[in-house]
């Protein structure tokens, strides 16, 4: 038993704790938390467990609700939570995806070695910062008309290929080939389109970034080989999502579902969990709009890739060619088959991590499993992991998504100034471009949990296995 969080805790093994479904009258399934003792201490310190318990009350939830080791308190769903709802009679919840629909990570690999790139790195990072707009309201150079935006929403990266912003070989190495078939641009409001029409190819703000990195250490030579990664190699990691378009889609549908829930007899412990049966007209409309926003996010990361390729070609010529390793979402709801069950898996701050035998793992990675990217905070390493078949039974094929915040933005700013953070990063040899010192302080490494510990837990628990560590050498922060 644990008195700290107010629920009985069953320790399943050293890395897995369970809150049984009997812990609260309204729970329908247990909650399982992946963490070592140190991460558990941090998790128990905020309201993320309470929020996971609330998710376990949603109609149609099945199996367990899972909390990843980077879980932290969000609003409604915890960030770092996974919940699967039965497709036939379960609900879909916009809050279970979050405002930044299909926030995700994409890794690009060059053939450059750090030693060769270093003399040009500062100019290259500066050029990236000039070529890829960052900050909350920065507009893109690409301003889409209504028909063009609708095609992005409907067709995702396939349309960007037509626009010359993608290479044919990019498409198979994007989750869902960069386009969810369920998308319907007509279900995205005019307001959402107004917020997003000039944001394609922009980073945004918060913890979003484009980072130039070097492959620092290889843990799994076979998987690294399959992903085309080797020690000393320069890579580029892109972390962003669907920008204002996705935020508005979530706002619109949380509002709608809050209005119709009573019609379906749904009562919730937290209004932000607003939901409707997936099979209802409102559930179907949200799913179609969410898929469209997800397509926008993949297209956003694709447009950024095009800008990064232009910058690297300018700096390094043929050697600067950037190959897309993979692109994977960590805020999304997907229809998936798990055994006999057809379910809608909500991953909020959690990454899909399918193993070698899954049909959605790209063919070229079938021997090793789907690549997973875990961005660290600024100045700390990011990790490449490989999905595992075992994760299907352990977490609906999901793993963590990052370090997870340990400190609020205000606390982070009070503990360090932006200038101090900048100097510290520069002392480590990391080139930083950020339009605001305040935001630099908010994202200081000390504001986050220890990403190495988080990754170690998912590796030991069998949710994904470590493949490589990427060390930052240049950061363009949103």
């Amino acid at each position: 038993m644990s008195a700290d969080i107010g629920y009985p805790i069953v320790q399943i093994d050293p890395l897995v704790r369970e809150i049984p479904s009997s812990a609260r009258d309204d729970m329908r399934v247990p909650v399982r938390i992946y963490a070592d003792d140190e991460l558990w201490r941090q998790i128990a310190d905020d309201r993320s467990v309470e929020q996971a318990v609330n998710v376990a009350t949603l109609p149609g939830v099945t199996g367990c609700v899972y909390a990843m080791p980077d879980v932290h308190e969000g609003y409604g769903f915890p960030v770092g939570g996974v919940a699967a709802m039965r497709a036939a009679d379960g609900v879909i919840s916009p809050g279970g995806v979050g405002y930044d629909i299909n926030c995700g990570v994409r890794l690009l690999a060059s053939e450059l070695e750090l030693t060769a790139a270093r003399p040009h790195l500062e100019a290259t990072v500066h050029d990236l910062s000039r070529s890829i707009p960052s900050g909350p309201a920065r507009h893109a150079r690409l301003d889409l008309g209504t028909a063009e935006l609708d095609r992005v929403l409907q067709e995702g990266c396939g349309y960007l290929l037509e626009l010359g912003l993608a290479l044919p070989e990019d498409i198979p190495t994007i989750e869902a080939a960069g386009a969810l078939a369920g998308a319907d641009a007509a279900k995205v409001s005019a307001r959402a389109k107004q917020r997003g029409h000039n944001q394609l190819g922009t980073i945004g703000s918060g913890n979003h970034f484009v980072e130039v990195q070097v492959v620092d250490e290889i843990f799994d030579a076979d998987a690294a080989g399959a992903y085309g990664l080797h020690a000393g190699q320069i890579t580029v990691l892109v972390h962003t999502g669907s920008r204002g378009l996705g935020h508005q889609v979530c706002t619109d549908y949380v509002r709608l579902m809050d209005q119709v829930m009573s019609r379906y007899g749904i009562r919730l412990p937290d209004r932000q969990l607003a939901c409707a049966p997936l099979s209802s007209p409102e559930g179907q409309d949200y799913f179609a709009a969410m898929c469209a926003a997800a397509n926008f996010a993949w297209s956003n990361r694709q447009a950024i890739t095009h800008s990064a390729r232009t910058v690297f070609a300018r700096a390094f010529g043929e050697a600067g060619k950037l190959r897309l390793v993979y692109d994977v979402a960590h805020n999304i709801a997907k229809l998936e088959q798990h055994g006999e069950k057809r379910v809608c898996v909500h991953r909020k701050g959690a990454t899909r991590a399918f193993g070698p035998s899954h049909s959605e793992t790209p063919e070229r990675y079938r021997a090793v499993g789907q690549p997973v990217f875990i961005p660290g905070s600024m100045g700390t390493a990011s990790y490449v992991l490989a999905g595992s078949d075992a994760a299907l039974a352990l977490s609906f094929g999901s793993t963590c998504h990052g370090a997870g915040r340990a400190m609020s933005r205000g606390e982070a700013k009070r503990s360090r100034t932006g200038a101090e953070v900048r100097h510290e990063l520069e002392r480590q040899g990391i080139i930083v471009r950020c339009p605001s010192s305040g935001e630099l302080a908010e994202e200081a490494p000390s504001a986050y949990k220890d990403v190495e510990r988080v990754v170690s837990v998912v590796h030991q628990a069998g949710l994904a296995r470590k493949v490589a560590r990427l060390r930052p050498v240049g950061v363009v922060k949103g």
Binding site: E73, Y75, G95, P136, A137, R195, H247, V254, Q259, G438
Partner: protein, 138 residues
């Protein structure tokens, strides 16, 4: 005379909690607008007066009215780069709001807010005053 309105911005692990106090619902909604403007104009390099707009919001209840009102202002700031700074409440019920708002144009606002959420949302009456808490996704 109505008691003075006030607001506090309180740290939340990943977001921001807005606490509001006012003598009436009209005062509370105006104060919510002021708090949001403070956030949105934080660090703004330049602003220019940009006229006024008549805004209308409807909602099923008082709690949602606050969230929908904030989300209306969030939309205008991002889509039109127009941040409302002054509010003349023309009509308010627990389900509807009509406001004449004047604002400024912000070329590159730094402090944009993604959305107002319903998580932990509370609007309640305390000793003749109205108080509220709402979490903003920032």
């Amino acid at each position: 005379m109505e008691p003075a309105s006030s607001h506090e911005l309180i740290d939340h692990i990943s977001e921001l909690r807005l606490r509001l106090r006012a003598g009436s619902l009209a005062g509370l909604l105006a104060e919510a607008g002021h708090a949001l403007a403070e956030l949105q104009l934080r660090g703004a390099e330049q602003t220019a007066p940009a006229g006024s707009k008549r805004l209308q919001v409807t909602a099923p209840d008082r709690d949602r009215l606050l969230v929908d009102w904030l989300n209306e202002l969030i939309y205008l700031a991002e889509a039109e780069r127009w941040v409302a700074t002054e509010f003349e409440i023309e009509r308010v019920t627990t389900q509807s709001l009509e406001v004449r708002a004047s604002g400024v144009e912000v070329p590159l606002p730094r402090g944009l807010v993604k959305a107002a959420t319903m998580h932990g949302l509370r609007v309640h009456d305390v000793d003749g005053r109205v108080e509220a808490e709402v979490i903003l996704d920032v």
